[in-house]
Amino acid sequence: MKIHLHRFGLLPIGCALGLALAQPVAAVTDEEFNALKDVVGKQGQRMDQLEQTHQQDQKTHEQDQQTIQKLQQQVGETQQIATNAIQKAEAAQVQPVHPIPPGPASTHNFMVVGDAEVQFGKVQGQHSAFAMADFAPIFLFRANDNVLFEAGFDVTLQNGSQPGGGSSTHVDLSFAQLDYLFNDYITFVGGDILLPLGTYSERTAGWLNKIPDDPLARGFVPGSGIGMQLRGAVPIGQSGQSLTYAVFGVNGPSSLDTNGLASNLDLGGNVGDTGNWHSNPSGGGRIGWFFPWKPHYDVELGVSGQSGEWDNAGSHLWSAAVLDAAVHISPFFEVKGEFINSWYGTDDSGNVHARGGWVQAGYKLAGLDLDYPVINNLELVSRYDRVDDGLGTRTDRCTLGYVYYFSNTLLFEGDYEFVHSRGPAALPSNEFVFQLSYGF
């Protein structure tokens, strides 16, 4: 019983304690509730607003994306248009049927070069006189990279024939040839061609020759002929050395009077306007070797020849062989020359052996380094000629002269020729010549 009473006694005490400990919740007033309700309501409204803003932003973003896509599409279309335009422009440039050759503009080109000389001279036994020695224009027409047409004239004045007097103009076609460059090694030349017998005829001009008169032995070979030629050069190494060749066929020398008399030999005629005077053409060629060991130091050697019928009957041959040489030692000194040997059969004189040679030297006084203006523009020249025409006339000529260079193209030359000639066709002895020569 004590235990039960003890237990029952604890129970109310526990309840009492529980009741005492259990704090009553604070009472929420209506005002507070309403305030809280307002806050919640406002929060809800705020949430709605934010949600609406978000939806609007999303729509705006979608619109921006669409705009960006449209702009990208437009940019792509613009680029395509530009590309098409460029392609069209390039295509338009390629339209020409014939490709435009590379290099400087103008496929065609026409030029006039040449020279002119006026002389004052005196031959022993004659009066001194001025003479319009030569006006020699050269016309160059380049059709394209491989075709060149060139022609040279010599225009001179002569006294008019008596009794009218006055003067007459003589025009000589010195050469007129078509050059076609097949390839790097073969060039075709056709027409009235300069003949490669030696080098003088190909490299002569009034302003190039340092002595006004031509070498005597050049009279034994023709300077030009009507025909065709193949020529070219083969380089050797990289130093400028080369081998050159030329092979040609021309109508060749002919007879002035159809027959084979020695005096009728005509080296410059037979141009073919009435056919070749004799039945067969004349052929020949030249082989040359050029070796420079440095600029202004070089040597050139060549051997050339020609042979063919000359009389109308074709009974006699005319032949020639030429050895040529040139040496340059420094920019100031040069020596060159030719040996010409010709022989031909005749009706009256048997085999005629006309031969001769010349050697010419020149020294520019600028090589002395004297620093005098007149001296530096002066070149001393000399030439020795010796010829035998094979018909009894022999000539030795020694020429001493000078060249004064007003410029690289305006030359004042003077020389005195000591001539010793004997035989039926002996030349006048001694003469002096002054010449003003201009190259253009």
Binding site: N109, L140, D184, L208, T244, P295, T409
Partner: protein, 126 residues
């Protein structure tokens, strides 16, 4: 006490086994060391033998040929027959015509003529 007694033969067996293993290792180490001592020393790397000397039978090297420039070719060729013409006297197109003329007249190798032309055109100024 009884457990200790039972361990004695085992201990003795273990000690014997360890002794045998130690002896085997020692013997192996000794054999290896002995082999190293007997092997000869490794040869050091020797340089490659020198190239054989060139005999007269082999071709000597030729010095490289100096290639001539356009300006030098101009000096070589364009002063042989006439005074030099200045590059400024004509324009590029005219030089092309003139060099074609000179290539034929002087029988110039084409490569050299082209080099001279290039030099003149570059210096012509037009």
């Amino acid at each position: 006490m009884n457990s200790l007694r039972s361990l004695k033969p085992r201990l003795q067996g273990g000690i014997l086994l360890a002794t045998i293993l130690a002896l085997a290792c020692a013997m192996s180490i000794g054999i290896v060391l002995a082999d190293d001592a007997k092997a000869p020393a490794a040869k050091p790397l020797s340089p490659p033998p020198p190239a054989p000397e060139k005999t007269s039978a082999t071709k000597p090297e030729k010095p490289a040929l100096k290639k001539v420039t356009g300006a030098e070719l101009y000096q070589i060729h364009c002063n042989r027959c006439h005074p030099e013409r200045y590059a400024t006297e004509w324009n590029s197109g005219e030089w092309k015509t003139l060099m074609t003329h000179m290539r034929v007249r002087a029988n110039l190798p084409p490569a050299q003529a082209k080099q001279i032309l290039k030099y003149l055109q570059e210096d012509s100024g037009n």
